[in-house]
Amino acid sequence: MFWDFQWTFEVLPDLLRGLGVTIQVTVVGYLIALILGLLIAIVRRIPIFGSVLHAVMEFIRTTPLIIQLVFVFLLAPSTVSGLTVGIIVIGVHYSAYTAEVYRSGIEGVAKGQWEAARALSLPGRRTWGAIVLPQAIRKVIPALGNYLIAMFKDTPLLLAIGVTELLTEAQRVGSASFRIVEAYTAVGLLFLLVSVPSAILIRRLERRYAAV
């Protein structure tokens, strides 16, 4: 076995293109997960509707992401690209997790905070927007950050629905020239290149908001 540096540099542009797609999926999917998860966490507090929603989210959490990807991709109209399906499915899938994170954060806000808001006659919008959510979200930033990295690492599953992200690209260039070791090593390094700084950034955020 040998290592061909020159070949590795030659395919780097292809790999970087794949990385671009991976990052795109992660960023947009994560935004969906952050926003949808928050809405789910709030709506879940409504008695009956909330229980139904909880059951749906439980279903999403207990079935594999790859099956959800393939299932939705096959059902979706052919005009919808694999990339779009991938982003939406991964975003919704992770929103089932972020909703639980938000829920724990909301439940962690002291009862006295709700009571003080009520004693001041604050409308629900202010109670949620200015008091409960700022405190709840601050507490769950580390947990939310972990899901960003988990999601990033899950993007290669999009291979199953033909999205040319980083891993697919590596597989393509690697198998075309039989240099699988170089291709996959480069993929691993590129993933590290993104996830390590992200982890550091998350830890910084964590420290900044941990004060309160």
Partner: protein
């Protein structure tokens, strides 16, 4: 169990007749149960405008529940609470009193302010934001006006220099004084004080009580106070209610209750409190 409808519109005696001596707060046969536990048992009492009433009694006797009912943090199980001659726990609908809806309660409880044992300041806001939040977003006061009022109130509680601090940077006593300022910023007619010094280190109690004494002396705000600070109760209150098992065991002026209590329950309670001091 939800509170039931009451087929009366006129309310208890002395309510709604428009007389000048009309009580501000009336508890009319109020029952509060938590599951099987009866915390308040057909309680009747009233408070005159401007009156300062201290509620004393062993823990679990229902004192705090009275304040929580007035703050609408709890709902009555039976009976009705009246404030200012109008139903408070209930609302009028078609000649009957039905349990008040959320919108009605939000409107009515603006006249009532509460200071909690655990302060309950909003830790994500500065002292200033804590104080102006409700005036701005509930009363619609302009930010400038609310700010000016916050400065005044903080000066009154002796924390003028802490306006831009966060609650976590303050001592318990300072936090509680901010909480008092926050409650007063809504200009309530009725101020509820729920064991406001119980969570404080002993050396911080005096500062908070001094602020409350000043409020008692300089305003005509009606105060209901649950406390174990008997000295404070004696100085500030017009009337003392001794609670036991969800009912009033004895009531009178501070001189009567602390000087020559009649009931054995009152005597033994006062003994146990004074022993601890």
């Amino acid at each position: 169990m939800p509170p039931s409808d009451i087929p009366a519109t006129e309310g208890p005696q002395g309510v709604g007749d428009g007389s000048k001596d009309q009580p501000l707060i009336v508890f009319d046969q109020v029952v509060k149960r938590f599951g099987d536990l009866t915390v308040l048992d057909h309680l009747d009492f009233s408070v005159a405008p401007g009156e300062r009433v201290t509620l004393i009694g062993p823990s679990g006797s229902g004192k705090t529940t009275i304040l929580r009912l007035l703050m609408t943090l709890e709902k009555v199980t039976e009976g009705c609470i009246w404030v200012g001659g109008e139903p408070y726990s209930h609302m009028r609908r078609g000649g009957h009193l039905t349990p008040a809806g959320e919108g009605y309660l939000r409107e009515r409880r603006k006249r009532v302010g509460m200071v909690f044992q655990q302060f309950n300041l909003f830790p994500n806001m500065t002292v200033r934001q804590n104080i102006i939040e409700a005036p701005v977003h509930v009363l619609g006061t302009s930010k400038a006006e609310a700010n000016a009022r916050a400065v005044e109130l903080l000066d009154m509680v002796g924390l003028g220099d802490k306006i831009d601090a966060h609650p976590t940077q303050l001592s318990g006593g300072q936090q509680q004084r901010v909480a008092i300022a926050r409650a007063l910023a809504m200009q309530p007619e009725i101020l509820l004080l729920d064991e406001v010094t119980s969570a404080l280190d002993p050396e911080l109690v005096a500062g908070v009580l001094d602020v409350l004494r000043e409020i008692a002396e300089t305003t005509d705000i009606t105060m209901l106070c649950v406390t174990h600070e008997m000295g404070f109760a004696r100085d500030v209150s017009h009337r003392v209610l001794m609670f036991d098992q969800g009912q009033i065991a004895e009531e009178g002026t501070p001189e009567q209750i602390f000087g020559e209590p009649k009931e054995e329950r009152t005597k033994s309670f006062l003994r146990s409190v004074l022993d601890n001091e």
